[in-house]
Subunit: 504 residues, 4 copies
């Protein structure tokens, strides 16, 4: 352990047969870990024999190194003066000139927050946050559908007062906007998920913690106020024991009020921007999410757990190991055995599943209508569609469980429209991450401040004082309603042209 | 009073503790006025210790200085030769080359009027006129919806004669187009609201005077012809006494035939272009409409009158002090106590409110369907939608009160379509202001001339001689009708997929 | 008459008091004619004291000079050597490089014909042909609506043979496409309307002759084959005697089989491109169609015949003197007194007028559904809408009179769709004029050749051999049907929200 | 035969009277063949007296030379050293810089495959593959209509397994995606249709062989695995004997499991890009598909077989000689007499024809809903429309015959949507050809790999394990349904405005 290595010595161990890396000034032999790495061996091999700290740090929570490597794999420390001087990778997008910190007060809306962040964060971080599946159809539709709903402002209503406070699962919050469980916050800014928590504290907003956060849950909630509300997002692992261990750890955090079980991404979507960004630093050609190495016959023949692709974007790496075999019948009882926290199901996209979820109250206390920010299945319906479906086909769901939504929220008017349709709250994911990228903790505060102010203005101009007064009378959804799923029956009408066919 | 100051002496008083400004050659101590300024203290502090005449003049009506400052606050006069030579701020938009006065006869339509004005007026004036809330969705939809209505020209009708004259509240006018109560006309041209009045006189058009006009009501109507028709727009102030004093003053002006009570903007909308333009001259960073200084806990806890934001755009400044607590029950009786003029309610956006207004006839004699030119709540419905709603759900409103509309009018065909839907008249706001910017009084005349000629051509080609002959048979609104609000009931149909849910 | 003038002498007479012009080498005193000129005095005064031949020639039919001026107004001839050498006006559009004659066989479609012509013709001619009213909404919608109709190709049908021949009013033609009565053909090419007639002869197509043709009717039909079919378009003049004289002249031309009475443009539309182009040659500022000189009080007070605007585009000049007082009751009997030719009514835009026209059979033998190529009233409905209206509300019209359409035809598929909807034939106006501009008579032939070939290909691929087999079964119009006029009744349904209103 | 010519000697024979060409080092006298050439004489005359090998090779299957020319037409061989050194035609599109072979693993989707291929293949090949009829409306609509269908992902479904295998006509394949019968594959890459076969073999995909393939059927299937499935596409020739001979030849190939009879292109569509590209190499002006040389009277007078146009694009050449007189009554029995293979009818575009086809089971075993990739009749309906029509008016068709579709498939989600609507499989044509262009056989493999992986991801995220579980419950087609053909009856409702008409 006391051994000190020269960089030239480390540099020799740059193959799958002997793979060393430097992390935080220490030298590790990760040869035997290559096969286990959730992100695939390739990404490690690209850094074999070098100082990998810069690449490793922002996407791994502290402590995970010790968790995964045994003591003997730590070979010693590096002699600092032997390290080559590194050139920081310049920003890749030619058009951007980072021009000093931006005065956040001059940033007027969420699109501008994204623009500012895009200039400041790495291409890799941008690609991971910005990307969505295939052609980004669902991602942009998520927002566009809000724009097609018209508001119905009432006049001669006293709008002096405006109160955005509400409750989630009985816990008081000061605004109906929460931060969705977005992963890898430290890619954007060192403040990371803890910075988001601090911003949420200031605005009385709820935060959902991603299982793939770049900080540990304990770190994130460390400075939380007593009444601050958190949820923790679970991706069930193929190795259930890992998930059970995590649940046990979460159960001890009193700040976490519920488990959010992710259902909308049992397998990774195809996020091409993310895939393209993967190897930018190393100038290696981009490789596709298509599982090109799995032999064709194997993948067609129902292989239980497909072997990992040779290389993956950030998004794909995170998914690795996630269970694809969840079911109503088996998963909810398993969860009940490992936590007594209420369950929130994230990723409901049809009224059928919303209805089924409502049958599992009270274990299930809420559902989140979400298409994973357009990142799972392209052309999946936006939450607004699912809200309208539930309203038409099984409105009793709203009485049995809370319905939250996410995806596409950019304006206070979007928030108000979702609430008027019956949502209890709305989540923002990218907005919070881009806020972090734009200005760390203060950037997230600015995002919440803008959305809250816009929401209040909208409520006032509608003549509404409290969020629970919002209802269908405040919105005109006709331009959207006509596109809502109408049941297979709609296509199976009695033949109108049987007369014509009869004559053929 | 006889004291004469050197500029260097004035320049020292540039803080909140001692704040002097030079206006029209005189030196004022406005330290104690800082807290009262409707536009906030910051905008004054930016000019503290300097000659503020250029900034002050176009947005304050003459006389208001004397009204607000006591005699002792006027310290003396400035020694002119000590004033620094000022460089006039060059036009900010790089693309524009002001190239001499435009021959207005070559300007063929309202869009071209706007283009000419945009080149000639200051960035600040442009931003105030052009801006609308959020993403400008309602602003552009206001116009687009007219384009989706088709006309139905009848042939073999004698169209030699065409008469656009009509009446508003019984007062004869020569055209169904009036000038909306648009504020801050002197930002565009020194002719100001008086110039608009002169143009209206020439064309027999009605004018509504904004409470926020840059000239006094008395100045505006000074040269009016006897039969010229004016209305005066009231924003009720938190300090009711101020509004009562104004009403008393208006009651004395026989040219003003009615009070137009503004309802569609109890709180300011979020006009980002306007906010961005605010500090252009002083090169200070733009600050947002978001009330960033109000502590979070305060604004959420139903603060009766929120404290003013640190800085505001022109639009926000104007709103400051406007009452947000108007109601059907309290405000109309209060108005009746202070004026016997008929009331016109501006800003109706739903058939429900149109119906309620009709119950208040005869005190209420007309309503104006308006979303404040898209400047209040983005994605609020255009007047065409509200017209169609009234027509479908409570057409009796048309029999009880007059229905006027504004927003989005750019062509004579737009005017004709609104009338065919039941509107008695249509207002133009930005068009008049841009007309003023394009050529002062003559520019406004050109706007009215174009719209009148286009309206006549349209009426003739439809086979219509008088405006009261226009009706639903002259238009095809199907492309719009399908988007009209259909009542909350529409979403609550008996479940079509209950069969499916039953099987789950 | 034998007098010969030096140019310097003529040049002195350049005012309204003494106005001389040189035309075809002769000197005329047109002072007393200024007030009578259908195109207004201004356009002449701009050329006063100069050789006006180049401007005069392409827009005046031969012989009209003698008709309008008395012998004594011809003062003598010009001494040629005294004429200043003229510089031909270069092409105004900077982007265009005329690069020699185009091989017409390489021009593949109607859009390309227009592109070629646009490079070759004068800006003035382009503006006159291209322009349409206001924002060109109807012009572009005319075409777009065809694109929204889908075809329904049937398979396993023998399509070896294809016959596009049909009849108009009983006269045989080889194709269902005719040339609309388009004015001012010589602006495009010296072949003029006679060239169009020659092209039509080659393809067995019918031609409608505009009253505003740049050649006399006699010249146009001069070389027609015996079975060639012409119609003559009448704009009834305020001075009915002029129209009666023209009808008498037309009655003598056996090639003209019917009178086409124009109804869709009793007053000129607002064609801004045309207005802008007007004064290009003389570098005078463009002046608007708005009747700016008519005093406001005059035009509002039902002036029977408004005085002519100071200056006008080509389109407006042509309209000058056209009667606006036509009616079913008076005009058809008057026509019957002056011609026994069948009447075709052009410009029907509603099913109501189509129905009324059908009541006037047999004097009225056909109607042309037309919005004047989008040149009269912007947002007027396309012919496809009117076809669908007739089909829904009064299909019996198709049995009583022929229904022709024009406007927006660019492809053979457009032709086929119109026929499938019940049209007997379709007219092309701009396509023929741009064909002339692209290559004179051969250019028009190319246009007809392209449209005929495309029509045949479409018929074959639909499985149709003859045009009278085309029917509703060959098209899917659902994307258009939903926008068809549904009657005022549609808006006056029993109130759906009366329940809500009752609660207010 | 032993004769050896100098190039200068050959060069003299460059006219229609004596036309020699050099092919693969041999000299041929093709004077008498000029009139017979399916592609027209012109394309040969352009190469008369030169070495035509480069132009000839990629579009003619080996062996066809010997088939068409007699022994005496082969005059001898060329003296190689007398041949002029040729400059290879540089790529015509200025913007493209071929930059070495692309790593196919970095190509992430079908659009990128097309982009890569477009850089690498000749302009002529690009034009032939890319082109579609008229304005490419149907081509782009084919894809856009898939984007308008939303997916309905179900959650809590075990999606560990995913099996894309299915059967076509009872033959097992590993994916529901097949390669459509696309012609001229060697224009893209020397691997040609044999390369496509090899790629299909790897992925267990079915391949349809075009009659116009650039390799012989025998060559294409040469290395096929025993269980590999092929179909052969028949364009019935005017000279039926030729088709009968081909059928006889195909009947001998056990790998070919069915005959695919093309019905959607009895005459060529108008592919303007293809026409424009035709003569690029020779710098001759482009000539149009319009049959400009056929005298007008001839083509209108039902000429049985129109004479060939002077010049044609690749597409038109291939069509030459194709029979236009196929009928249900005559063609199917004729086919039965010459093959016992099952028949698949390609090009059904209406539910009426789908229904008629189903009446011809079991000889007809499947239909392909296709508008020929938008290459036949522009504005013909996409396959999705026809699927929806069948589903609404005659769903029993799905029980009697298999329904396949092609056109517009670019994503796995498109595949899944077609299957959910009832299609058994989907064909890709351009994707395979562009894959070939991007990387030969490996490029086609990449196309299949991408589509298969995307299809699997989509199925998993929908909660579907096997393709036959896909159904209407997985898609929301409302945005498309409203545009489906509703029968002519829809337009002939009882008159709603008879009341109005009665009053006229």
């Amino acid at each position: 352990m006391a051994k000190v290595f020269d960089y030239s010595e480390v540099a020799k161990h740059n193959t799958a047969d002997s793979c060393w890396v430097i992390l935080y000034g220490k030298v590790y032999d990760v040869t035997s870990f290559l096969a286990e790495h959730p992100g695939g061996s390739k990404v490690i091999l690209q850094l074999a024999g070098t100082d990998a700290t810069e690449e490793y740090d922002p996407i791994h929570p502290p402590g995970i190194l010790e968790e995964n490597l045994s003591a003997e794999q730590m070979l010693g420390s590096i002699r600092q003066e032997t390290l080559p001087s590194t050139e920081k990778t310049p920003v890749e997008t030619g058009e951007v000139e980072p021009d000093g910190p931006v005065d956040l007060e001059t940033v007027l809306n969420i699109d501008e927050i994204e623009a500012v962040a895009t200039k400041q964060i790495s291409k890799k971080a941008w690609a991971y946050y910005y990307s969505a599946s295939d052609d980004l159809t669902s991602k942009s539709f998520n927002n566009a559908v809000y724009r097609k709903i018209l508001l119905r402002p009432r006049v001669f209503v006293d709008c002096t007062n405006c109160d955005t406070s509400t409750t989630f699962l009985g816990h008081k919050v000061k605004m109906p906007i929460y931060v969705s469980p977005a992963a890898m916050a430290r890619l954007a800014h060192a403040d990371g998920e803890h910075g988001i928590a601090q911003a949420c504290e200031k605005f009385g907003a709820m935060q959902l913690i991603s299982q793939n956060a770049s900080m540990t849950p304990e770190q994130i909630v460390a400075d939380a106020k007593e009444d601050q509300v958190f949820g923790w997002q679970l991706y069930v692992q193929n190795e259930r024991a890992k998930s059970e261990a995590m649940l046990e750890r979460i159960n001890k955090l009193f700040q976490v009020k519920f488990i959010c079980l992710t259902l909308d991404a049992p397998v990774p979507g195809k996020r091409e921007d993310d895939e393209r960004s993967k190897n930018i630093g190393s100038n290696l050609p981009v490789r596709a999410a298509v599982q090109e190495d799995a032999s064709v016959s194997k993948t067609t023949s129902n292989s239980k757990t497909p072997s990992p692709p040779k290389s993956m974007g950030v998004g794909q790496s995170l998914f690795w190991g996630t269970a694809a075999d969840l079911t109503w019948r088996t998963t909810l009882p398993w969860l009940a055995a490992h936590t007594s926290l209420p369950i929130v199901l994230k990723g409901i996209q049809t009224h059928e599943d919303a209805y089924l979820a409502s049958l599992h109250a009270p274990q299930v206390k809420a559902i989140i209508l979400s298409n994973h920010g357009g990142r799972a299945l392209d052309t999946a319906p936006p939450a607004v569609h699912t809200l309208l479906e539930i309203r038409r086909y099984c409105p009793e769901v709203f009485d049995k469980i809370e319905v939250w939504v996410d995806g596409g929220i950019k304006r206070g008017t979007d928030v108000v429209k979702a609430l008027a349709l019956g949502a209890r709250g709305v989540g923002v994911g990218r907005a919070a991450l881009f806020g972090l990228g734009a200005g760390g903790k203060e950037g997230v505060e600015r995002v919440l401040e803008i959305l809250k102010a816009e929401t209040e203005t909208c409520m006032r101009l509608l003549g509404v004082e409290k969020v629970d007064q919002l209802g269908l009378q405040h919105i005109n959804t006709r331009a959207v309603e006509r596109d809502i799923y109408d049941g297979p029956a709609a296509l199976e009408r009695p033949s109108l042209s049987s007369r014509i066919l009869a004559k053929l």
